[in-house]
């Protein structure tokens, strides 16, 4: 028979105010195998823990139940305390009598007291059948994969590399930067976006610890925290990156021109081109779908003019294998697709553009060299309409959430517009103004006052073209009147949505996304940069819309979490995982099918199922599905659960 100890906490009046702890301690003390039953005002305090330690020594206990707050609070505390006395920590369990008893039945003292006693009895049933377990030590690979080379991925990579860790940085475009490379100046300080980004990106390119793979994607991932195995696909650039000096002669000579997505449809791009002028790395790729060599073999211009003989039409996609211990997903965002924005005329009316389009227009390296002009006729717009919350905060038709940056983006746009066109009039349609970060409210108020911006509160119902102008119809909800503005140009602050393909990527990494496709964190408050899969971390707009300051902070937080993870040689994992009774297992293979982590495998020689202990996450799916009850969870066996049920029902 075991010698068990039960320790009941008053938690001040939090528990003892409802549960009669003395009578519970007394009753539990009469249980046959309970050698010690005590109560104390704060079990988690030093003297409280001392009571436990002394009882373990004095009474030779070999199992402990602490009846107190939720295990999420102090399970670790008490397991450490018993461990200090040489007891296996997994022989200590928590009976949750605060969150799930005293706090929720404050008026039913008698019933709560009975319930607390039953919870303790059930927990005793569990402890009676618990085994001593050792944490599983797995070797760890101290390199990190970062997916996405926007400012989030750049920051995380640099932090990790500076910390001494090797980083593999994947970017699917030919160059680094993400959306920050498209921005003109950034709120609230109106610094040029590009120069800051350029510095950081160049640092990445030069850093000896960062292996940069642009124009590359993650094809396959296997493994688990500490030991991920990757296959990376490097798309053929058709340019020998070792030879190319980035002189740009090929780009000048390429005869093919088409509309540039980077310039949001307002500029042109060549079939051989860089992602943007002075990109990092500053080497072009051949976009094969546009190149005449690849379409019909009719052109070799770039090959002829390249002084370095760097053009390589025969280049093929390359697959490389890598091993890492952790992964950062920094895949960023996109703007809500214009095809789906019917009522705003975007995509049909040339003088209706989106925020990123306006950023390109304001950029000195953009399609208009920084000049604000109407795309349709090149005239300077004298009346400008900015519309906020386009496709955001509209649960019926678009996205229900707030995209967080559009209020500030719009104020910034209106301000820069007024600086360039002092006699112009900006009108801003808005729902609310949100400016809750450092310096934002001040920036906004100052801009509104100095630039005489006209804010109209209300949603726009229709945007249409009429007589060379863009008519915007809306309701001013403050006056209740219809408003109509005949504008020269309209800028839409469209919603931030997750990047294309992030769902597939998340599935490969076994990370989860919410119903909009944003990556979900393990806990929104307590574990905001960890995904729900161990070893997979989040940074930037792929997790939720945010500005650059928040993106950078989050990326640094992620990098330091990973540094903590990788600071040891071995990773200790909870041993509460599945195991197989080899005598019973019939080898049906149902568990292999059911396991979401590929932790079950058939032993081909013995015809029975095995558990890969480093892969098993202990979810229990295989256990519930095994038709023979041949597998169990350590310290969570069917017999333990059934006995708890017994305690509760009889």
């Amino acid at each position: 028979m075991k010698r068990l100890g039960v320790f009941i906490c008053h938690c001040g009046a939090n528990i003892a105010g409802t549960v009669d702890v003395k009578s519970v301690a007394e009753k539990i003390g009469k249980t046959e195998d309970v050698a010690h039953s005590a109560d104390y005002i704060y079990m988690c305090s030093e003297p409280g823990q001392q009571i436990i330690r002394e009882a373990i020594r004095g009474k030779g206990l070999d199992g402990v139940v602490v009846a107190c707050c939720s295990p999420s609070m102090h399970e670790n505390t008490f397991r450490k305390a018993v461990k200090s006395q040489g007891m296996n920590p997994y022989l200590c369990e928590i009976a949750n009598i605060r969150e799930q008893c005293s706090w929720v039945h404050q008026k039913e003292k008698e019933e709560a007291t009975r319930k607390a006693e039953e919870i303790i009895q059930a927990t005793l049933e569990k402890v009676r059948r618990n085994d001593s377990l050792e944490a599983i030590a797995v070797a760890i690979n101290r390199r990190v994969l970062v997916v996405g080379g926007g400012i989030a991925g750049i920051t995380a990579s640099l932090d990790l590399a500076e910390g001494g860790y090797e980083v593999i940085l994947l970017e699917r475009e030919p160059a680094l930067g993400g959306h920050m490379a498209q921005l003109s100046r950034t709120f609230p300080d109106l610094d040029p976006a590009f120069s800051g980004l350029f510095l950081k990106a160049s640092e990445v390119e030069r850093h000896p610890k960062i292996h940069l793979h642009c124009y590359s994607e993650l094809e396959d991932v296997k493994g688990y925290v500490g030991n991920f195995e990757l296959v990376i696909r490097k798309k053929a650039t058709s340019v020998d990156r070792g030879r190319c000096t980035g002189c740009g002669i090929c780009i000048e000579n390429c005869p093919v021109e088409y509309v540039s997505q980077f310039e949001r449809g307002m500029g042109i791009r060549k079939a051989i081109d860089t992602l943007y002028p002075s990109s990092v790395p500053n080497k072009p790729v051949i976009y094969r779908e546009h190149c005449r060599y690849f379409i019909d073999g009719s052109c070799h211009r770039c090959e002829e003019v390249c002084p370095e003989k760097a053009i390589d039409f025969k280049q093929e996609d390359e697959r490389i294998s890598e091993k890492v211990g952790a992964v950062v997903v920094a895949t960023g965002y996109e703007l809500y697709p214009k095809e789906q924005l019917g009522e705003y005329g975007y995509g049909e009316i040339p003088d209706v553009i989106d925020g990123l389009g306006f950023e390109r227009m304001l950029s000195p390296n953009g399609p208009t060299k920084g000049k604000i002009i109407r795309p349709s006729d090149g005239k300077v717009p004298k009346e400008m309409v900015f519309i906020q919350c386009v496709a955001s905060r509209d649960p019926d038709r678009y996205m229900p959430y707030c995209s967080r940056i559009c209020c500030m983006v719009t104020a910034k746009h209106a301000k820069i517009y007024k600086e360039q066109v002092p006699d112009g009039q900006p009108y801003i349609f808005y729902m609310d103004i949100r400016s809750d970060c450092k310096g934002y409210e001040e920036f906004l108020q100052k801009t509104i006052e100095e630039k005489r911006l006209l804010y109209l509160r209300g949603r726009v119902s229709r945007v249409f073209q009429d007589d060379g102008r863009v008519r915007v119809l809306g309701v001013d909800t403050l006056t209740g009147k219809m408003v109509e503005v005949a504008a020269d140009m309209v800028v839409l602050a469209t919603a931030i949505v997750p990047s294309n393909g992030v769902k597939d990527l998340a599935a490969k990494l076994r990370a989860t996304v919410d119903r909009h496709g944003f990556l979900t964190e393990a806990h929104i408050k307590l574990y905001p940069v960890e995904s729900s899969t161990k070893g997979i971390y989040l940074a930037g707009c792929g997790q939720s819309p945010k500005d650059i300051s928040d993106t950078v902070s989050q990326a640094s937080a992620t990098a330091s979490k990973i540094q903590a993870l990788l600071s040891t040689d071995k990773l200790l994992q909870d041993p509460l995982i599945a195991f197989v009774d080899e005598e019973i297992c019939s080898g049906c293979g149902i568990c292999v099918e059911i396991c979401p982590y590929e932790a079950r495998e058939m032993d081909p020689h013995r015809g029975i199922s095995m558990v890969h202990s480093a892969l098993c996450q202990g979810c229990g799916a295989c256990i519930a599905s095994c038709p023979n009850n041949a597998c169990e969870l350590r310290n969570g066996s069917a017999s333990q659960v059934l006995r708890m049920v017994d305690t509760f029902v009889s």
Binding site: N96, E99, C101, L633, A638, V645, D646, S650
Partner: protein, 140 residues
Amino acid sequence: MAEFEPRIVAFLCHWCTYTGADLAGTTRQQYPPNIRIIHLMCSGAVDSIYVLKALIDGADGVLIGGCHPGDCHYQTGNFKARRRVAILKGILQQMGFTENRVWLKWISASEGKLFADTVTKMVEELKKMGPNPMKQLWNA
């Protein structure tokens, strides 16, 4: 005779509903003390035998709580639970449990109030249904 007080056994997943039940406590939501909670890692770990055993032994209701579809920490455990419960319901019908005594609910870690409301509602409904018919069998 004292009013019939149903007994509910609940199997709650670690990541969502168990944490939601904790939040109900932290925010001092009040609900009837008729429920006894068993912590499991995932709703997909709820073996049919757990539910059957509880009902055969005389529990008046069983509550299974998991993460909302798409939110299961182990990807698809809650879908497994949903399938299992659907099958179980057929068997329970044949065993003479004609009422809905097994509730499968998606309650997230942030839905403490929903947890409390669910328990309150379930107790009310079970009171209307009356005691688990198995109990009579045992007592006959």
